[in-house]
Each structure stands twice: as structure tokens, then as C-alpha cells.
């Protein structure tokens, strides 16, 4: 099949779906479901207004900072603990329990204890650190016996061993964890801003809902989708680069990419 035909096939359905959506919403005239053309128009003016610096940038900045902190903590701890059998025998259940707490439930606790203006960052760090940590541990464990023997035979130093053997071996799992926690970070950003915040996309979403500004609300929802897609694509591109030595992307890595 020609490349052109493939592209046509790929986008034809999408175009038809958008056209149908436009037609149906125009026909129905339901104020809750504005036509996509109206949403696009509103999005164009909203996203590139002062709201970008007032709401989009601060919220997204907090999210990325929290995620990066959680990633650093999770990878460092995971590499340290993952190679120690006794450490994980004691701590494995603790980490799994911590990860099992539905992340949005952290919001009320942090709102009450840290305060509504500063609770976003700790919420995101606490909510996203566990998947990274557990995946890193899993990856660090998966260093195969031959590599362990090879490293011992060459009398590698502790640093060489950790950075040169354990970290690369664990990398595919680490990336799977990072992607999972990135989607959790986005969810937590929204939940935290919905429940209480002075700015942010979630905050604007609530405002639009209270003011019954439906096109604006849809525009913010679309923006969150765009951001989710963008971050995941960027991380994937980076992962492909970093893991270029890998024979192929395993099913495992792909299936973990689907957070809610």
C-alpha cells in the first residue's frame, strides 16, 4: 500500500469524526456541547492570552518540577535498594502499599497540613515517586547473572558497576515508570487545582464551569489532552534515543505507557 493511501486512511476517519461532531453539535444546539469550531476559536484566544503566564505556565511548571523531583528520588533510591535483597524484603510491601493509596486522596491531607497555596508540589512528588521507585527496583533486579559475573571478573568499581551496568540494565523499566508517573502527575495537577488553587488550568476549568462558559471549559479540556500527548511524545522520543541499543521495544514498556 502506498504511503499516501496510508496517511489518507489514517486521517480520513478522524476528519469524518470531527465533521460529524461539528454537524451533530450544530444540529442539536445543546449549550453543553459546543461545536468543535467554536472550541477551536475559544482555545486560540484563551491559550495565547495572558492566561498563558497566569495559569498555564505556573501549573505546568509545578507539575514538571514535582515529577522531576520524584524521578530523581525514585531512581536514586531504586538503584540503591534494588540490588539489595534484604532491603527489598523489608521495604517492598511498604512501597507497594504507598503506591496503592489512590493519589488524589493525598490532596485533602496536603491541603489541610501544608496549605492550599503550596500543597501542589508535595502532592505531586508523593503521588508520583512510587511507580518510578518500584520500576527502578524491578529493573535493577533484572541485571542478569552473566553481567554480574563479567563485572566481577573485570573488578569494576562501585561507581562503574552502578552507573555502567545497573542503571543501563534498569533503564527500560525506569522509563516505563517515568511515563506512568508523568500521567499521574498530570492527573494530580488537575485534581489539586480543581479542589483548591489560586491559579492553574484546573482552576480555570472550575471557573469556566461556575460561569457556564462551556466553550472555554472545552478549550481547557482540549489543552490538557494536548499537554498529555505532548509530554508523553517527548518522553518517548527521549526514551527511544536513550534506549537505541535495545533490540526492540518490549510489550512491557509499551503497555505501561497507558496511564488514565
Amino acid at each position: 500500500m502506498s504511503a499516501l493511501k496510508r496517511i489518507a486512511q489514517r486521517w480520513a476517519c478522524f476528519a469524518v469524526a470531527v465533521a460529524l461532531w461539528e454537524l451533530a453539535t450544530r444540529q442539536a444546539g445543546d449549550r453543553f456541547f459546543p461545536p468543535p469550531s467554536t472550541i477551536a476559536q475559544t482555545a486560540g484566544t484563551l491559550w495565547f492570552s495572558p492566561a498563558f503566564f497566569d495559569h498555564i505556565a505556573p501549573g505546568v511548571g509545578r507539575m514538571l518540577l514535582g515529577w522531576a523531583l520524584a524521578a530523581a528520588i525514585g531512581v536514586a533510591l531504586g538503584i540503591l535498594l534494588g540490588r539489595s535483597r534484604p532491603a527489598m524484603a523489608y521495604l517492598g510491601a511498604v512501597f507497594t502499599f504507598m503506591r496503592s493509596i489512590p493519589p488524589p486522596l493525598l490532596v485533602p491531607f496536603f491541603v489541610a497540613s501544608v496549605g492550599i497555596t503550596t500543597m501542589q508540589l508535595p502532592t505531586i512528588v508523593f503521588g508520583t515517586v512510587w511507580p518510578v521507585l518500584l520500576n527502578t527496583v524491578d529493573g535493577a533486579r533484572s541485571v542478569d547473572a552473566t553481567k554480574v559475573d563479567t563485572a566481577r571478573a573485570f573488578r569494576l568499581s562501585r561507581t562503574q558497576w552502578t552507573l555502567g551496568v545497573v542503571l543501563p540494565s534498569a533503564a527500560p523499566k525506569i522509563f516505563a515508570g517515568l511515563r506512568l508517573s508523568l500521567s499521574i502527575a498530570l492527573i494530580l495537577m488537575v485534581v489539586a487545582e480543581l479542589v483548591g488553587s489560586v491559579n492553574g488550568i484546573g482552576n480555570q476549568l472550575v471557573r469556566a464551569q461556575r460561569d457556564y462558559e462551556l466553550p472555554a471549559m472545552w478549550a481547557w479540556i482540549v489543552l490538557l489532552g494536548v499537554l498529555g500527548y505532548l509530554f508523553n511524545t517527548l518522553l518517548l522520543a527521549f526514551e527511544r534515543r536513550a534506549l537505541a541499543w535495545q533490540p526492540r521495544h518490549s510489550l512491557e514498556a509499551r503497555s505501561s505507557a497507558t496511564g488514565g
Binding site: S113, I187, R254, S255
Partner: protein
């Protein structure tokens, strides 16, 4: 990950609570908010005897399970179709790739406007969130089916539809179950998020939000949070156990997180 030895992991959990107790009793953290386990656990026991609290927990768990069930009913057939017919997949993937990144919690305000604050809202949103891991795991599992399995079945005169049900479905099943396990956590999280935001809804999230206001009942907040963690932990372990019990023949899909 393998489950560590029970005694060691219990010791680990005991240490966690000991550290929490010590931190709360010392002046390191504001003890008013991080109530010690010696207060939280009696509160949890008291709450478990409280019909209002129990009703909230049951409402949350029931909504989570209902959403998970609906998600399975939608996502597994959809995944089978997308996985076995490449043209259908090419045609619809763009729409799927467009919908998937939208965090389900971003739809909460919209869903509240259109569906109101009843249980429909949280179930609908949770279905939306829980759909994706199951759909993608089913689809990718079909990609990974051994072509020799299909050829063997076909050589014995098995028809196309029978190959789908007798070969594709069983070999994809472990990955589907892994998807269900991932989706449980998502479903629970979305249900609770909706309850946090929608004041009128009955549920664990709403209970905890109410308890947290003003920081007056932090022991109840922590007790509820610990219980939610226990529910998630139990569901995850239960599904992992089920995986090992039912798919003993399969090792490759075991380590998926």
C-alpha cells in the same frame, strides 16, 4: 515483582508505622496534621463500625468495580477488533490517540454539568479512565501472538473466527488481566477524585474531604486514606495472585506493572 517473605514485609510495615509514630510524637512535623498511628488505627476501627462511613466505602468500591466491569466489556472486544484488523486500527488510531491523553479528571466539571452529582458521573468517568490500559494491552497482546500458533490452528482446519476465540483470546488473556489490574487503580482514583470535587456525592473521597476541612479531624482523614490504600493493595495483590493461579503456564506477562 515477587512478593517478599511475609515476616520480613510485615516487619517493614511495622517499621513504617513506628517511624510515623515517632515523627508524629517528636516536633519534627506538625503533629496536629500527621496524627500518629496510635490514634489513627483506633479511629479506623471506630469508623469501620460507623454505618455512615461504611456506606461511603461501599459506594466507592461498588462504583469502582462497576466501572471496571463496563470498561472490560467495552475494551476487550474493541481491542480484539483493533488488534486483528489493521485497516480498522489505522482508521481509528488517530481518534484513539487524540482521546487517550485527556486525563479523565479533566472531564469532571463537564460530567458534573451534564450528568449531575449522582453515581452515573463517577462511573462514567472511571470507565473512561479504565478503558485505555485494557484496550491497549489487548491490542498489543494480539500483535505478539505467535504466528506458528495461528498456522497450527489453521492447518487443523480452524476457521478465522475460531482462531480468534480459541487461539488469540487465550494467548492474550494474561495481558488483558494485567490491563485490568492497572485499570483497577485508575478506576478507584477517578471515582475518588470525582467524589472529592462533587460535594453531594456519597463516597470515601467525599467523607475524607469533609473530615479534612479546617484540619479538625485529621485522624479520620488519615484513617480513610490508609483504608483506601489497603483496598488498592488488596485488589492489586488479589489480581496478581489470580494471574499466577490462572496463567501458571505463562511467565512472560507476569512481571508487568
Amino acid at each position: 515483582m515477587r512478593t517478599p517473605r511475609v515476616p520480613a514485609s510485615l516487619t517493614g510495615l511495622a517499621c513504617l508505622f513506628a517511624v510515623w509514630e515517632a515523627a508524629s510524637r517528636s516536633d519534627l512535623v506538625p503533629a496536629h496534621y500527621l496524627r500518629p498511628p496510635s490514634v489513627v488505627f483506633p479511629t479506623l476501627v471506630r469508623l469501620l463500625g460507623d454505618p455512615v462511613f461504611l456506606r461511603a466505602v461501599v459506594a466507592t468500591v461498588a462504583a469502582t468495580l462497576l466501572a471496571l466491569g463496563i470498561a472490560v466489556l467495552i475494551a476487550v472486544p474493541a481491542g480484539l477488533v483493533l488488534g486483528s484488523f489493521p485497516p480498522v486500527r489505522r482508521a481509528t488510531m488517530t481518534i484513539v490517540e487524540f482521546l487517550r491523553p485527556i486525563p479523565s479528571v479533566a472531564l469532571i466539571p463537564l460530567a458534573l454539568l451534564t450528568f449531575g452529582t449522582g453515581p452515573d458521573t463517577k462511573v462514567t468517568l472511571a470507565v473512561y479512565g479504565a478503558l485505555w490500559p485494557i484496550l491497549f494491552n489487548t491490542m498489543y497482546a494480539l500483535d505478539e501472538i505467535d504466528p506458528l500458533h495461528v498456522e497450527t490452528a489453521r492447518a487443523f482446519g480452524t476457521g478465522r473466527l475460531a482462531v480468534l476465540t480459541r487461539v488469540a483470546l487465550p494467548s492474550a488473556a494474561p495481558f488483558v488481566l494485567t490491563g485490568v489490574r492497572l485499570s483497577f487503580a485508575i478506576s478507584l482514583a477517578v471515582v475518588i477524585s470525582t467524589e472529592l470535587f462533587a460535594g453531594g456525592a456519597i463516597g470515601l473521597g467525599q467523607f475524607i474531604l469533609a473530615a479534612s476541612s479546617g484540619g479538625a479531624h485529621m485522624d479520620e482523614v488519615l484513617a480513610g486514606t490508609v483504608l483506601a490504600g489497603l483496598i488498592g493493595f488488596a485488589a492489586n495483590s488479589g489480581l496478581e495472585w489470580l494471574h499466577r493461579a490462572v496463567f501458571a503456564w505463562n511467565v512472560s506477562a507476569d512481571g508487568l506493572r
